[in-house]
């Protein structure tokens, strides 16, 4: 069964090719069948492969499939080869499965769009790229998938390309992530030059063998990879593209945030954990970046009034949790959170999409309201998603994974109280903004009429994902609930175990209690502010200082402004100044000189015979003088 591995990315890729070639000749139904069907089949194959992998583990718990050698020169011979271990199994299954649900949802969501085929074409490519990324045997192939998702994010965010705002957002996503990619590719240069290979496993083995902990190479390589990860995963300081990425159709956001793209950074760091182990400083940086980002994003999310932007910042924040986990060497915890996050974030986005679609494209939460009766499925789905996001204790999957991260941030030998505190505060804020969203959108008075109701192709994914969001966490229960953690065992084959501080306070259940507490408190606060005393809140928000603060958070702490002025405007200025080429004057000046010389000389050629004689005479005298006097 494992031999079918290559089919998993090949199916969506084939879907892309078929859709691209036949484009205009395909009807909507055919496009939907090919688009969603290829990913669906891929999910089936992925399940088969996963089952086979678990049921009869290959030797070394690793399966490698070499398709062909990409190229071979100068000692560099990357292969088009796939590498399957426990971690990639999780990723592949989640990507294909959630991807399929999103595709299915899209067949209905996009049905009135003129670029229907094009949409599925890009979506298929997106899934294929992400699969290549997580299955890649070497970093170059990974980079291929890496850039592929970047490209697809651009194509899909700017999918409605008549509106230049969308195009701008897509461009921004591609360019900002590509800045990170540049760091990544430089990291590849470094790794290849030092270790003479790009295949991940030999590379890790080589690094572990050649470089001592804290060596300059390891630090540099890890830092460069982190640069790539930060860009793709929208962490500080390259986070600015993510909120704008909401310009794309909602299923796209779901895909970007849940299954693909933003989690790539998490995958990369987890995959190259050896390097980060060798570079503790960089790993600490990962944790700090994660923590700061998760807090930053929470504040931003609090101030947004575009439903999708709230969710976008929530993603940023949740990825921050994953980074935090990675930073404290909680590799498996990060993957766990990736999985649960994929479920509930896809759910949230798809539910949000249903809301937006029902309201005829309305994004502003303050123009929604009172929808819980009109859109019950969406409402319940949203409740489940928000609860999971807010880590409502015991019943949601988000609780288990996030609690694990919070515990790890303290309990790991690399953890510390500050990280733990940050994570906890983040959890409180998450809970507040998540339920702020729920209350504003679904409670209160209805502001905009519902024009369309979702049908089964949109509802089915919501149900499935709701279920997953609720039960998805039971694969890894915390210590104090008993020792049921098949996921940890499974991932343990691929990722190094966590070194914990012996008898840490973190694992006593107190931390979990606190986590639960802040979640509940958050909901309570949201309820009090938004349901009970909404008018008072409005008054408070209208005062200068809170208002300014809100504006500041709304605009993402002014990062866009800063980057615009530091990077974009100078380049634009230079481009405008240099439009006619700065070097050109040197050459045109030369030509001008020649013409002037011609003018002068031509004037001497005045047609007067006696002048000619005189010139010859002067010439003679000069020559004579030179020869005689020399």
């Amino acid at each position: 069964m494992l031999q079918l591995l290559w089919i998993i990315p090949a199916l969506p890729a084939a879907g892309f090719v078929v859709l691209a070639l036949l484009n205009r000749h395909l009807g909507r139904r055919a496009a939907a069948v090919i688009g969603a069907g290829s990913v669906g089949l891929s999910a089936v194959v992925a399940l088969l492969v996963a089952v086979s992998f678990i049921a009869s583990p290959p030797p070394g718990d690793v399966y490698r499939q070499v398709l062909w050698t990409w190229f071979d020169t100068g000692g560099l011979a990357p292969q088009i080869a796939f590498y399957l271990d426990a971690m990639s199994v999780i990723f592949v299954v989640v990507i294909t499965f959630v991807g399929f649900l999103i595709h299915l949802y899209s067949t209905e969501f996009m049905e009135r769009d003129e670029g229907y085929t094009r949409f599925f074409m890009y979506m298929n490519l997106f899934v294929a790229s992400m699969l290549v990324l997580v299955l890649a045997d070497n970093l170059l192939l990974l980079y291929l998938g890496w850039e592929g998702v970047g490209l697809c994010s651009y194509l899909l965010i700017s999918f409605w390309q008549r509106d230049l705002q969308n195009v701008y957002a897509g461009r921004k996503a591609f360019i900002v992530t590509r800045i990170g990619d540049t760091a990544l590719i430089i990291g590849l240069f470094l790794l290849f030059t030092q270790l003479h290979t790009l295949a991940i496993q030999p590379l890790m083995a080589g690094a572990a063998k050649e470089w001592p902990v804290g060596s300059g190479f390891a630090v540099a390589a890890a830092a460069l990879l982190l640069g790539g990860a930060v860009g793709k995963s929208a962490q500080l300081p390259l986070q600015t593209w993510l909120p704008d990425a909401m310009a794309g159709p909602t299923p796209v956001s779901a895909l970007i945030h849940a299954a693909t793209m933003v989690t790539a950074g998490v995958y990369l760091i987890a995959r190259t954990n050896v390097l980060f182990t060798l570079a503790p400083d960089v790993r600490l940086a990962v944790a700090i970046v994660g923590t700061v980002t998760l807090l930053y994003a929470c504040f931003c999310a609090l101030a947004q009034h575009d439903i999708k932007r709230v969710l976008a910042y929530s993603t940023m924040s949740q990825i921050g949790y994953m980074f935090l986990a990675l930073g404290v060497a909680g590799w498996s915890a990060a993957i766990f959170h990736f999985m649960t996050h994929a479920f509930f974030k896809a759910l949230l986005f798809l539910a949000a999409g249903a809301v937006i679609e029902s309201l005829g494209g309305e994004h502003d939460i303050f123009k929604m309201g009172g929808l819980r009766r009109k859109l019950p499925t969406a409402f319940w789905a949203f409740i489940v998603g928000a609860a999971s996001l807010a880590a409502m204790p015991l019943v949601t999957s988000g609780f288990y994974s996030k609690d694990l991260i919070i515990e790890t941030s303290l309990g790991s030998v690399d953890g510390n109280a500050w990280l733990w505190l940050g994570a906890l505060v983040g959890s409180l804020l998450t809970s507040i903004y998540a339920f702020r969203l729920v209350f504003v959108v679904f409670f209160g008075d209805q502001q905009t009429p519902v024009t369309r109701r979702p049908r089964w192709r949109m509802l089915l994914p919501l149900w499935v994902l709701s279920a997953l969001s609720l039960i998805g966490g039971f694969v890894w229960l915390p210590e104090w609930m008993g020792s049921f953690h098949p996921l940890e065992n499974f991932l343990g084959e691929a990722l190094p175990p966590l070194k914990t501080v012996a008898s840490s306070f973190a694992y006593t259940g107190v931390s979990a209690l606190l986590t639960s507490l802040v979640a509940v408190v958050g909901v309570a606060l949201a309820t009090v502010w938004l349901v009970e005393s909404r008018a008072a809140l409005g008054d408070f928000a209208a005062r200068p200082t809170p208002h300014a603060l809100q504006e500041f958070w709304l605009n993402g702490w002014g990062f866009d402004w800063l980057y615009e002025h530091v990077f974009v405007i100078p380049v634009k200025w230079f481009a405008r100044v240099a439009r006619n080429d700065l070097v050109e004057p040197a050459f045109s000046g030369l030509a001008w000189l020649n013409v002037q010389a011609w003018r002068a000389l031509s004037a001497s050629q005045n047609g007067v015979l006696r002048v000619y004689i005189a010139v010859a005479g002067v010439g003679l005298v000069v020559i004579l003088a030179f020869v005689v006097l020399r």
Partner: protein
């Protein structure tokens, strides 16, 4: 003899096209198709047939024997020409030549096809010029006698000049003369360098010859070698074009008709790279090493400056032209890095840039034929009008920004990773150039194809002839993106041997770091020994 056909077929077809067109203009097109596709078929056949021979040559002589010097050619012709001056008609072909020939004829064919509708005036004369260029280009890549090389090098200027001046756009005469003067001036500087080399070699050995293989390894003072190297560099840097000698290129590319731009971007500017790899570095390795820092700085400036300038343009064609400046910066970088990775990347970049930029020029040409402007401010939203064209443009824009999965990426990656081993900063800045490439490529797409269609332009989408051309180019780029190995294997022999020629200079890494030069570690000592034996250090 097969080598002669590569030059003769287009050279004979050229006047034929003109003469036939006097009675039937359409005939010229078919003659031109035959005159380019016939040698293309021939060289492809040779490639397929001799792929084994190439591998065998590499395996038999392997690393360690300078194939170039030993004369392990796929084919060669050596005949007297102007014997009083020691000039011979010396054509030879190795893997690199083969690739360049494939490129030449393919681009020639493409140029003819791309002009099928666009060129309606003086059809015969046009195809005369295109075929002439093709013949001269084939000659350039085949010549190993420096005089012969210079002869063909100059020869292709005239038809290119005419192509730009006669069928170009608004400022065509200016662009044509600028192109002509830049290339000619720098070419003459190279001629001086060639002659100086000729005399230095002649005085030292008593053999006055322009035969490149004999001139290799001529001993001379390092200052002299440096000056001569600069002479070669001037010519090739203008051709390439390298910053700051690039200003002819935006004008020439912009004003040339589509076919002219295709040949210019596809093949003609590649002569610069080819000349550096084949002649400049092997002749003056030490001098090139001394010049390396400057060269790399120029390359990096070219990459970034070209990209920013591309971004700054309003004229779509000018934008594409500046992207060439940027891409050729990578080529220059790779050449100065001078290790196997970088050189293989350079060759790949040569091919892929020809395909992608050639396609972009054709695209701009078809667009201009339809909307009658190249000004992007007068476009916008064209995707909605012509989605196939939009999709095609998107593809080549992506190729241009070096998207993995397309040949350009492999090329740029190889160049940069090779460069990294020589100069980390150059590689980093080159990689930063990729970000700028993203900026201009997407900016181009946005201004021409995305947004509202504000200008109410209506025109036909691609016709089958065009679709066919693009499909072929797209397929080629994708294949090169996922499996460039055939190309790499073809030029391996050349890449290895040029490096062995320079093995005695600091330019080539020490054989101890075997991995970097592509020599398996266990064979490295043997390679080093042979390399020392064939040391041709001209720069001491």
């Amino acid at each position: 003899m097969i080598l002669l056909w590569y030059i003769l077929i287009p050279a004979v077809a050229a006047p034929l096209a003109w003469l036939l067109s006097l009675s039937r203009p359409q005939a010229a097109r078919w003659v031109a198709v035959a005159g380019t596709s016939l040698p293309l078929a021939l060289v492809t056949w040779q490639w397929v047939a001799q792929a084994g021979a190439l591998r065998a040559a590499f395996a038999a002589h392997g690393p360690g024997v300078a194939g170039l010097v030993q004369g392990t050619w796929l084919a060669d012709i050596h005949a007297a020409w102007i014997s009083p001056l020691g000039i011979s008609f010396f054509l030879a072909e190795d893997g690199l030549t083969l690739i360049m020939l494939v490129l030449t004829f393919a681009m020639g064919l493409l140029a003819v096809l791309a002009s099928w509708r666009g060129i309606q005036e003086r059809v015969g004369f046009f195809h005369f010029m295109i075929l002439w260029t093709t013949a001269a280009l084939a000659g350039v890549f085949l010549s190993l006698d420096l005089f012969l090389f210079y002869f063909f090098f100059e020869m292709m200027l005239i038809p290119m000049y005419f192509v730009i001046a006669l069928w170009g756009h608004e400022k065509r005469v200016y662009a044509a003369i600028k192109f002509f003067i830049f290339t000619q001036a720098s070419g003459l500087l190279m001629l001086i360098a060639i002659l100086a080399l000729y005399f230095i070699h002649g005085r030292a050995t008593g053999t006055y010859t322009f035969d490149f293989t004999q001139l290799l390894g001529t001993q001379m003072p390092s200052a002299t070698a440096f000056l001569l190297m600069l002479g070669f560099f001037a010519a090739f840097a203008v051709k390439l074009p390298a910053f700051p000698l690039h200003t002819w290129l935006p004008d020439a590319h912009t004003e040339a008709p589509t076919a002219g731009s295709v040949i210019l971007a596809g093949v003609l500017i590649k002569i610069g790279a080819y000349g550096m790899i084949r002649f400049m570095v092997p002749l003056f390795p030490q001098a090139v090493y001394d010049f390396r820092t400057v060269g790399m700085v120029l390359a990096v400036i070219g990459i970034i400056y070209g990209a920013v300038m591309a971004y700054a343009q309003r004229d779509l064609k000018r934008l594409v032209a500046y992207t060439s400046v940027s891409h050729m910066g990578f080529v220059l970088l790779g050449i100065f890095a001078w290790n196997t990775l970088a050189l293989q990347g350079v060759v790949l970049q040569i091919v892929c840039h020809a395909l992608s930029t050639g396609a972009l020029f054709i695209l701009v040409g078809t667009l201009q034929d339809r909307v009658h402007t190249r000004d992007m401010t007068k476009m916008g939203g064209l995707w909605a009008v012509a989605p196939r064209m939009g999709g095609t443009a998107m593809f080549f824009a992506l190729a241009s920004l070096g998207l993995p999965g397309l040949g350009n990426f492999v090329a740029e990656f190889l160049i940069l990773v090779g460069t990294w081993q020589v100069s980390k900063w150059a590689a980093v800045l080159g990689a930063v150039g990729l970000v700028f490439a993203t900026v201009y490529a997407l900016w181009m797409m946005q201004r021409a194809f995305q947004g509202e269609e504000t200008h109410a332009l209506r025109f036909n989408d691609l016709v089958p002839r065009e679709t066919g051309m693009y499909a072929a180019l797209i397929a080629a780029l994708v294949v090169l993106g996922f499996y460039p190995q055939p190309l790499i294997a073809t030029v391996r022999q050349t890449v290895t041997s040029v490096q062995q020629i320079t093995a005695g200079s600091p330019l080539s890494p020490k054989p101890t770091s075997a991995v970097q030069v592509g020599i398996p570690a266990d064979r490295a000592p043997a390679a080093a020994a042979v390399a020392d034996g064939t040391t041709t250090d001209g720069g001491r």
